[in-house]
């Protein structure tokens, strides 16, 4: 893979941006336990959606 100055800068910027966003997200959750609980509830609903998708796939495998 060719490394270019532009690619390097872009990756550096994306890395910095992700770090900042992750830091801000962590700070928000640590500061507010209720918010963390709310997001855990969202994640549980996400898990539930995955279970529904799995069930749907088992009942009707689309291409098989």
């Amino acid at each position: 893979m060719k490394i270019t100055e532009q690619g390097l800068l872009s990756r550096l910027y994306q890395g910095w941006k992700n770090k900042k966003l992750k830091g801000a997200a962590k700070k928000l959750l640590d500061k507010n336990p209720d918010l963390r609980k709310a997001f855990q509830d969202i994640n549980k609903a996400n898990q539930n959606a995955i279970d529904i998708l799995d069930k749907r796939y088992k009942e009707k495998p689309y291409r098989k």
């Binding site: 100055e5 532009q6 928000l28 997001f39 855990q40 969202i42 994640n43």
Partner: protein
């Protein structure tokens, strides 16, 4: 006349012609049937072609949906919302769930691709702060989110529980969009410089850029200094110092989710309230800007509130900001609009001054309760003041009982107003109104309703809110009794005087009651 032989020939020829005609007719029929069959076959072919074409289109659409979904998953996984979902733990994060949907879509589930795309669109909109609980409900009414609806409902609930969350998403999205734009422009410039001059050219350009930015900052500071000098009437040296503090305060406000403008307002608010330039240091300006960004107070309100607090408790501005931020967190924990609670107090700093250091905590709790009820705090303060005129209060009790049939212990309210905090008075009023049939008074007619408003000094709507409302006091010792004891030691003579006045008024009321009873008996006889 034809001969018999000719006649026979003619008959034979006629028969042959008939047979030929029959064969022709049969041939025509066969061709017609074949043509019909051909037509039917062509129709079938055409239908199949249309079906194949539609299936191809649906397949392209599904591919496009899946491609679009994969791009959204990538963006969501690197977003604030995506990170919060990943860090919160338990269950699965958005990216994991949507990746599962993408795999199912690849296996031909076209329905899930559309549903997952709609859901991912909403997640991106929530992340950018574009939509709140109402917009989520609107979308749920119009769009089929299939298995993802549960997650959307939970997101709506989270936004409802944390009202400032949408604003945080909005600020973060705007900040990073601006940074993305700047970074994109920078990268394009870098590419062009490298193509034209190589890495050395890039180094030279970077030095030039930094120099230009430094000059820009100096020019900006000089402009701000001139503006401050003109607007606030400070010396050139002080104006420069204030301009520097404004910049630092602005950055502190931005870091707390506010704006650069709040830095300027913080400096102006502090200067206006404290009147001396020395008070406005980088530290106090930054703390005040942070307070404004967190609570939603204006520079003027924050300045006035901090000045009053420093007069009451003698603490530094930074310490008082921390105290206010702690109160702000309490309001947030009580699920109240924190800016409104702060504004209730900042709106009347004299009320705050009157509460004193001892009563500050109670006043904050009263402000929280007032916000919960939806009744302005200074109305309770005015009501408390109105109760201190003993004869007028006793007259109010008389009017309530005899004109409206409302039984309220105004003496107890007066005691709370005199010796207790505003919170005590608020609790006592709420308690007293529990036993009042407000609807019954309303039912008596307009005159009686107006009388009730006039006697208690609150509109009917507020009285109903207070009756329904809850204070945030944690209970325990009845506040009036507790504060009466401590206050009575301090102002014994005042208490005795009021007691005597009470007794006198109660005797008058009893005498008037007697008169009414006698008059009623006379009417009956």
């Amino acid at each position: 006349m034809p001969s018999a032989a000719d006649q026979l020939k003619y008959n034979r020829a006629l028969k042959e012609a008939e047979e030929i005609q029959k064969r022709i007719d049969s041939g025509v029929n066969i061709r017609l049937k074949t043509a019909e069959k051909l037509e039917q076959l062509q129709l079938k072919i055409s239908m199949h072609e249309t079906k194949i074409s539609m299936e191809k289109k649906a397949q392209y659409k599904a591919e496009s949906d899946r491609y679009s979904l994969d791009q959204k998953i990538e963006r969501i996984s690197k977003s604030m919302l995506g990170n919060m979902s990943k860090l919160a733990g338990k269950g699965e994060d958005f990216s994991e769930m949507l990746s599962k949907a993408s795999r199912n879509a690849k296996d031909g589930d076209t329905q899930v691709a559309a549903q997952a795309n709609s859901f991912a669109d909403m997640v991106e909109k929530i992340n950018s702060g574009e939509v709140g609980p109402k917009e989520i409900l609107d979308a749920m009414a119009m769009t089929d989110f299939g298995p993802f609806e549960g997650s959307l409902v939970k997101m709506k609930e989270s936004l409802e529980k944390t009202p400032h969350l949408q604003a945080i998403f909005q600020v973060k999205a705007k900040t990073f969009a601006a940074l993305d734009k700047a970074a994109g422009g920078l990268l394009t410039t870098v590419r062009a410089i490298i193509a034209a001059t190589g890495p050395i050219g890039l180094l030279m350009a970077a030095i030039g850029y930094i120099a230009a930015k430094a000059i820009e900052a100096v020019v900006g500071l000089a402009k701000d200094t001139a503006e401050i000098r003109q607007n606030l009437g400070t010396s050139a040296k002080d104006s420069f110092g204030l301009a520097m503090n404004m910049k630092q305060a602005g950055l502190a406000a931005v870091m707390a989710g506010g704006s650069m403008e709040q830095g300027k307002q913080a400096v102006e608010g502090l200067l206006e309230a404290f009147r001396t330039v020395d008070t406005v240091t980088a530290g106090t300006a930054k703390s005040t800007a942070k307070l404004m960004a967190n609570t939603g107070l204006s520079g003027e309100e924050a300045g006035k509130l901090l000045k009053t607090m420093s007069l009451i408790n003698g603490n530094s501005i930074e310490t008082n900001v921390n105290t206010l931020l702690a109160k702000d967190n309490l309001s947030e924990a009580a699920k109240l609009r924190t800016a409104n609670v702060m504004k209730q107090i900042a709106g009347d700093t004299n009320m705050f001054a009157k509460a004193g250091e001892q009563g500050a905590d109670a006043l904050f709790r009263a402000a929280m309760a007032a916000e919960k009820m939806g009744v302005e705090l200074n109305k309770f303060d005015r009501f408390a003041d109105s109760l201190l005129d003993v004869s007028s209060t006793m007259e109010k009790q008389f009017r309530l009982k005899n004109l409206l049939g409302v039984d309220m212990d105004m003496n107890s309210l007066m005691q709370a107003a005199q010796f207790g905090t505003l919170e005590d008075m608020q609790s006592e009023l709420g308690r007293q109104l529990q036993g009042v049939d407000i609807q019954g008074v309303i039912g008596q007619g307009r005159a009686q309703r107006n009388q009730l408003e006039d006697i208690l000094g609150f509109p009917i709507e507020d009285l109903m809110k207070i009756q329904q409302g809850q204070t945030v006091s944690s209970g325990g010792t009845p506040p009036v009794a507790k504060d009466t004891l401590s206050a009575a030691n301090k102002s014994n003579s005042l208490s005795v005087k009021h007691h005597n006045e009470n007794m006198e008024m109660q005797n008058k009321i009893l005498a008037k009651n007697e008169e009414i009873l006698t008059a009623t008996k006379r009417m009956g006889s």
